[in-house]
């Protein structure tokens, strides 16, 4: 594995994360619980799709096979996607959408703050840009976690269920495989094990303030770094890639 090949795959993983969660959030367009939330969730989706474009464009340029960011998004199948499993989990009710966003945005904030120091200039530049936006996402999800957790009996119950349901997908954030280790050695990748404690402490504090219980350590579902996904990803791709698959090279 050369540094170039590894960086391509690394950029691809990051791009897949924001693409798949961005797509999930875009599904809420016109379906938000209130108008302001419709705007908020779709704004977050837009930020994520924008980040995807930057990351996949970079991945395509490293790969050097004259592919575009669109080719990477629309022409890969499920087992060639490397997003974290939590990104593909369904929106379910508003509590699930918020819990997913809380776990992800706190992770992303810590992750991109580290990646900003990367020796890879493009990844560092994209990180500096992304961090500013992720802070807004984080603030939004913390606000809602507090409001729903410390809200009515019904909102509390649903928020707790959402936190419990999604907890098993958070272990994956802090896994390092050979590729991560290789790039960490070259000062390009982030050592995700180093941000685990901070993530846990931030999430615990937020959940406690929201009168919610932090789930006990239990089984963690993983697999995305090998391209192994939950059944949800296939459904997302079948919708997201429909047009390119039905009408290859369609332009408008």
């Amino acid at each position: 594995m050369t540094t170039q090949e590894a960086t391509y795959k690394y950029a691809l993983r990051l791009g897949d994360d924001s693409l798949i969660l961005g797509h999930r959030l875009s599904e809420l367009c016109s379906r938000g619980p209130i108008l302001e939330e419709d705007l908020a969730l779709t704004n977050i989706a837009l930020d994520m799709i924008g980040r995807t474009q930057a990351l996949l464009k970079y991945a395509a340029s490293i790969e050097g096979k004259e592919q575009t960011e669109d080719d990477l998004a629309y022409r890969r199948s499920e087992n060639h996607y490397y997003n974290h499993l939590i990104m593909e989990q369904p929106n379910e009710d508003f509590a699930h959408t918020i819990a997913r966003q809380l776990f992800v945005s706190v992770f992303e904030y810590l992750f991109y703050t580290e990646l900003e120091k990367s020796k890879d200039e493009t990844l560092a530049a994209i990180s500096s840009k992304a961090i500013k936006e992720i802070k807004y996402h984080m603030q939004h999800s913390v606000d809602w976690t507090l409001r729903l957790g410390d809200g009515t009996a019904e909102s509390h119950k649903r928020m707790q269920k959402a936190v419990n349901d999604l907890w098993m997908f958070t272990g994956e954030f802090f896994e390092m495989d050979d590729l991560d280790t290789f790039l960490l050695h070259h000062h390009i990748a982030v050592d995700v094990t180093s941000i685990k404690n901070e993530w846990q402490s931030y999430i615990s504090t937020t959940l406690c303030l929201a009168t919610l219980l932090v789930p006990a350590d239990s089984y963690m579902q993983t697999g995305s770094k090998k391209g192994i996904h939950t059944e949800n990803l296939g459904h997302i791709l079948s919708e997201m890639q429909y047009l390119q698959r039905a009408y290859p090279d369609a332009k408008w």
Binding site: A40, I126, K129
Partner: protein, 163 residues
């Protein structure tokens, strides 16, 4: 050398007045989107930076730059998108802030980027100048705006977020 410097300046002046598609009272120069013009081997290199990473106006701005320069007989143009240095509302000129306010958008006070969980402090209603305002939503009609309400004149208005 002097001639090429003049050419660069005239190219800059030709394109600096391009309005932002979403906030047409501001130009790409006012907003700090236009970062610079260079002349390399007879080709003009124009560098632009997005306000937000997903700014959907970038493609349009690139087309407009090429169109204007083509209309002035300049064909060899390359538009480059850069992310560094990272765009900030600190680049908005005082003049741009006045234009924003007159347009009905509360201008950003300062950069709040360094802080986590800072609230937007002291947002003044662009219509009646009241400081008695309330946040409705951190997210507004475009990525760069938040939605506010004035408790005095009761009008809803956009705040250009500190970024």
């Amino acid at each position: 050398m002097v001639a090429s410097q003049q050419n660069i300046e005239s190219v800059y002046n030709l394109i600096s007045g391009i309005p932002d598609p979403e906030i047409p009272v501001l130009t790409i120069k006012d907003l700090g989107i236009l970062r610079g013009v260079e002349l390399v081997n007879g080709e003009y290199i124009i560098t632009i930076t997005p306000t937000y990473i997903a700014c959907p106006a970038m493609g349009l701005i690139e087309d407009q730059i090429k169109e204007i320069l083509l209309a002035h007989g300049i064909q060899k143009v390359k538009v480059i998108l850069t992310y560094t240095p990272v765009w900030t509302t600190d680049w908005l000129t005082q003049d741009a802030k006045i234009k924003l306010k007159n347009y009905g958008i509360a201008p950003p006070n300062h950069s709040s980027c360094s802080k986590l969980f800072s609230t937007f402090e002291m947002v003044v209603c662009p219509r009646c100048n009241s400081k008695h305002t309330e946040l409705i939503s951190r997210f507004g009609s475009t990525a760069c705006k938040a939605l506010y309400k004035c408790k005095d004149c009761k009008e809803i208005f956009d705040l250009f977020k500190c970024h």
